[in-house]
């Protein structure tokens, strides 16, 4: 589903965010990308949904080679990738319902389908009672659930979440992760970048750890925690 070979990414002349990264994420996997701040997690995700272009190496997403992708084709690639952010990125001037409808409209969903699909997805994330509320009237957890609803309403093959629980307390963070797990069970490939090693610990999924733009460990689900306990202890104090 996502394959990277020897990918390099530089910001300016000096700063190398990604240094010769290679990885393979299979269809239907749930993968955590962890690592300290500045390790290159966000850059890695941005390259998957074409917000950043690799300077070198090859990235294949859903069989498409991103280095050969024309600018005009990027929107069509993104329609197959849902993205969730730490700061939600909802449109504040639109209601919860309209935020979802908008995502459907952008990809040309027939008007007759939009209402039904928006309603369905909001019910899935448990926000059917908030459809007329505006984002700023919702709690952080609710806003993130709207963002997830928007990301999955078009049934993308891949869901990318960049620190989805960064602004949420532990209980709400668990709720959000359960929601992501539910989406994964339905067949979506989920890639989550996070600092929150507690969550990583509980979820027992594959973990790719980045440090200084390089992959320092790639651990499959069952063994992840026995192996990384030391690192979890090291990273935990920095979690807000």
């Amino acid at each position: 589903m996502i394959r990277m070979s020897n990918v390099q990414k530089r910001y300016g002349r000096e700063f190398r965010a990604i240094k010769g990264l290679s990885l393979h994420i299979r269809r239907g996997e749930f993968v955590f990308i962890t690592g300290p701040s500045g390790a290159g997690k966000t850059t890695l995700l941005k390259m998957i949904y074409c917000e950043q272009k690799a300077d070198d190496g090859e990235i294949l997403v859903n069989g498409r080679n991103l280095s050969r992708l024309r600018r005009g084709s990027i929107p069509y690639l993104r329609r197959n990738i849902g993205v969730v952010f730490q700061d939600f990125k909802l449109i504040h001037s639109k209601s919860v319902f309209d935020n979802i409808v908008f995502a459907l409209r952008v990809v040309g969903t027939p008007k007759s389908d939009t209402k039904r699909r928006a309603w369905d997805v909001l019910r899935r994330v448990g926000l059917q009672h908030k459809i007329n509320s505006y984002p700023l009237c919702l709690s952080g957890g609710e806003q993130q659930r709207v963002a997830i609803a928007r990301a999955v309403v078009n049934d993308p093959a891949i869901l990318i979440a960049d620190e989805p629980t960064g602004n949420l307390d532990a209980a709400v963070a668990d709720e959000i992760m359960s929601l992501l797990e539910e989406i994964h069970v339905r067949g979506t490939t989920v890639v989550v970048a996070t600092h929150n090693m507690g969550i990583v610990h509980r979820m027992k999924k594959r973990v790719i750890r980045l440090e200084d733009g390089k992959c320092v460990s790639d651990t499959d689900a069952p063994d992840a925690f026995e192996l990384d306990e030391d690192k979890i202890a090291l990273v935990k104090p920095s979690v807000g």
């Binding site: 929107p75 990125k89 952008v106 040309g108 027939p110």
Partner: protein
């Protein structure tokens, strides 16, 4: 899908106009005044052109016959003149008729003819021009051709004033291009600036649109519609102002004694074609103005 997108663009375009009410009103009024100035110029130009067209159509060429040409010979020449495509009518004015005409037109100067034994006025042909000969070049060609006829002594037409009239029209047209160009650039920049503010205010929304897979045209659409609408409303405002001025202000101006030229000439408003051109120009400039702003934003 196209219809759905189109209705979305219109909806969003109007929403944006409402949202940035103050800036939109400023832009629309400025466009309205700029196009009004251009429209007023077009009214002046089209009227001057209409008047000069009328004058040029009335140009008559008078060809004077040499002394001693008989009426029969004159008949022969008249037949030959008829063969020219440029000539629509030929009237023969004999020496006698010329004298009678002079007497009736200048009754108070009858003393000038006293004491004359011979009729000094030459016989002439008064030549009306056909449609294809109603340009300065065609008139000059015809005059040159007539000048070669040995029976004719001289050919006269209002060459001086025709020439200066046509030069005046050319200058007026050039001025129109310059004025139109300058106003056009100004309008494009006004719209570009207003739309740039909207784009800036909605940059987060646009970033979200890009992330969820909106094509560039889908993102640009509402802004282009906003520019088009500003151009359209501005153009309609300018036509309203022009119409108001034409019907309420111009009659008063004509009535005032100072403008003798306007008093005697029936002036007309812009033709439907020109009205449509002004509206189309407003919309087109609105479109390009916003394209400039949005295009720049999407490159970032």
């Amino acid at each position: 899908m196209f219809v759905q997108n189109f209705s979305y663009f219109i909806e969003e375009g109007f929403r944006s106009l409402r949202h940035n009410r103050f800036m939109s009103v400023v832009a629309i009024v400025t466009i309205g005044f700029a196009l009004m100035i251009f429209g007023a110029f077009l009214i002046v130009y089209s009227n001057v052109q209409q008047i000069t067209d009328g004058w040029i159509q009335e140009v008559e060429v008078t060809a004077y016959l040499r002394q001693g040409i008989s009426d029969d010979a004159a008949d022969e020449i008249k037949k030959r003149l008829w063969e020219n495509r440029e000539i629509a009518s030929v009237a023969y004015v004999s020496q006698e008729q010329a004298l009678q005409r002079f007497k009736s037109e200048h009754a108070d100067a009858a003393y000038l003819l006293e004491g004359l034994t011979n009729n000094p006025l030459p016989a002439s042909f008064e030549i009306g021009l056909s449609k294809e000969a109603r340009s300065r070049e065609a008139v000059e060609r015809l005059v040159a051709k007539l000048g070669k006829l040995p029976e004719l002594e001289g050919v006269q037409y209002g060459e001086e004033w025709t020439k200066s009239l046509l030069t005046f029209l050319k200058i007026l047209r050039l001025l129109g291009f310059i004025l139109g160009g300058l106003l056009g650039v100004a309008i494009i920049f006004i719209i570009a600036n207003t739309v740039r503010l909207t784009v800036y205010a909605r940059r987060d929304e646009l970033a979200v649109m890009r992330l969820i897979g909106a094509t560039n045209w889908f993102i640009k659409g509402p802004f282009l519609t906003e520019g088009l609408l500003q151009g359209l409303v501005g153009a309609l405002l300018s036509l309203g102002l022009l119409f108001g001025m034409y019907h309420f202000w111009l009659p008063r101006l004509q009535a005032s004694a100072g403008i003798f030229f306007l008093q005697s000439v029936p002036l007309s408003f812009l033709s439907v074609d020109m009205l449509l051109w002004i509206v189309a120009a407003g919309m087109l400039m609105g479109f390009f103005g916003s394209l400039m702003s949005v295009g720049r934003f999407l490159k970032i």
